[in-house]
Amino acid sequence: MKLHPMIAALRRHKAGVVLIALQIALTLAIVCNAVFIIGQRVSRVNRPTGLDENNLMLVTQSWVGAPSGDQPGDVDKLDSMQQADLAALRAMPDVESVAPINSLPLLNSSWNGSAALKPGVELREGNARTTYYFTDEQAFRTLGLKLVAGRAFTPADVQHRGFRDTSTPPVVIVTKALADKLFPDGTALGKTIFLDGGSSPSTIIGEVDRLQVPGTGSWTNSFTWNATLVPTRLDAGFARYAVRAKPGRLDAVMHAVPQVLYGVNRMRVLDDDSVKPFAQIRQEAYRSDVGMAILMGVVCLILLGVTAAGIVGLTSFWVGQRHRQIGVRRALGARKIDILHYFQMENLLISGVGALIGLGLAIGLNMLLMKHFEMDRLPVLYVLAGIVVVMALGQGAVFAPARRASNVPPVVATRSV
């Protein structure tokens, strides 16, 4: 098929052609960037925390009238209150294991610091930022962490101290990411590090495969996988317990926990938010990401729909307008398929030009977004995929009007309208 007569015909409909091409270009630009944002959000939401999240829950509670922690002996009193809670929770029939812990991944409540190879360096100067999980020897079983080197904590490693006390622990376990950051040659095991600019060393006794920090904001992007496990129970007027239920018994445990804890000591604050399955922590952490991805998805679909409808509308009009010419072509020997192909080719030409403009717009929009928002560079693959989608959309939209055009009988040529 020759393109020359087609282009000559399109030149008589400049406004319509420009409008369709413009619409395709704009749609391509927005849809590419929106799909890219969706992809980023989805991969963010899907990254594993390093925990075995099933059958895991978190209890957050606070005592009323607990010792303040300032008097001598207060810390021991608080610790025995915490130990009593732990013992009661561990004695529950449906509970597999329980560990005291100051936070969990995705909880957005964290204690962060830095690890350095030398003692006494400035906090912001340390070799790597890290988050701390203060817990005990049951952490591995409870959280389902995977040890890749060294050993886990034993009861003998576990200490306890007041919440505001900042003494450094003799032994720690770090994530592989943190170990590799501190010791790029892979020899972290058995080495000593200095936490928070302190002067007493902590020995790395083990490495876990993966453990995410509690924060999900962009401020944690530089140390998302740098976690340090400290074998210390923190004693304060409040405590958090990670609880692993036996398979399938999570609901039963969640139901029973308040009574068990009130049974140990009635003077405490336990509200609706106190007992949470990990699934809920995950959902709350990523709610806005999921919401944004859904919104972007819906907008993309509507946009594609509107653009398709626009193409159907304009092409239908052209078919109506060229009714007679089509008849003449048919009378002169053009087959139905030729007419169909004519309109399909015409659309391919317009949407091709639109897609080319859209390619530029998509990259321009991406650069604009990168300037104003936290965005990465749009991979070319997304734009190429987008071009294929809008071209296919154009072909799909033009099919019905083109079919109608191909059904125009040759006899139209001889009729006056």
Binding site: L19, I20, Q23, T307
Partner: protein, 434 residues
Amino acid sequence: MLVYYLDLAVRSLKRNRVLTTLMVLALALGIGASITTLTVLRLLSGDPLPQKSARLFYPQLDPSPKDSAITSKGRLPATMGYVDAMNLLHAHRATRQAVMALTRAKIMPPQAHAHPFFSDGVMTTADFFSMFDAGFQYGSGWTAADDESGAQVVVIAGFLNDKLFDGADSVGRMVRLNDHDFRVVGVLKPWAPQPRFYTLGLGGDHYGDGDAVFLPLKAARALKMGPQDTECYQAVDDFSHLESAPCQWLGLWVELDDASAVAAYRRFLDGYVREQVALGRFQRTDTSLLDLMGWLRDQHVVPDDVRLQVYLAFGFLLICVVNTVGLLLAKCLRRSQEIGVRRALGATRREIFVQFMVEASIVGLAGGVLGLAFAELGLFGIRHQPAQYAHLAHLDLAMFALTFLVALVASLVAGLLPAWRACLLAPAPQLKAM
């Protein structure tokens, strides 16, 4: 004449029901999305204290010590350490000034059998209430003397007063906070500026309900109530003595009445910092004194996602308008013959132009009405989201008016090209073709 055009437009729109529905629907979706996102943006970037915001300022300085090896990267810390905050507070160089930190207060209700609960609280100093225009239902704030003596007094929010004392005048009664008795000196009228500007940088929610309790900083700290957010720049031995620790955890707000007062305060702040550098405490002389709205912008109070949604919605509207231009053009060119007849019968170009613009604006108004419904639907959806600002999302009168303005402008812009093309048609060829 207008009535005739309206009649013509309605007839023409009725003739192509599918096309008309498509145009109205697309325009309505674009308008609905734009108005929904704009409403949220306006809500989030609004002025929390319109009558006062120009007179409220947030001083910042960098307390990194002189011997520190670090060179801070540009931005000043959002908060101050205790020593500097108190030095600036006690200098009394502004009309009013208050330091503040956020805390969580454990409240024991006076009713028997009631469970204790946590509420948000502010640890602050006497000027807080008068500076931020927080009105009192009962009683008043505490005095500067109460600040100094560490008196265990408390100002509570109206909603907490309802909960604890059934809304009665509770001045003089005791509230049990973190296992200590505080005497109520005042009960606030509903007061919850949005965004919660004074919580920025202090670790609190940026939107949502107001705080429940307001405590004198010294009294609260004497009971070891801790701030929500603490940033330390050196190793800390003991977190229970934050006052002397190398940590930042307090925000300072000052009220300055005019430009000369602002300039004077700036000089004072610069002088203070230079003095500290000379004393060997600080190493950087940079300071900042942003006004309230400047501070909101500096702290990026509007979530990026919300701004991104506005971009998206307007891109969407743009495509919908382009789409409507195309469809209107198609419609009006299909009616070339009708136009030819009208021109031949004496209609001027202007009249043809007006006729098509009337048709476009009918589409626009219909799109506006439907768009309003979509916007209400969108805001209804946002109110049922768990965001902090969710329940504030309502369509106000200005946005209501803006909806129609946007709809009308969008449709008139969309109608311009088709109407122009229509009025340029020469009548003779069209008549000949018949």
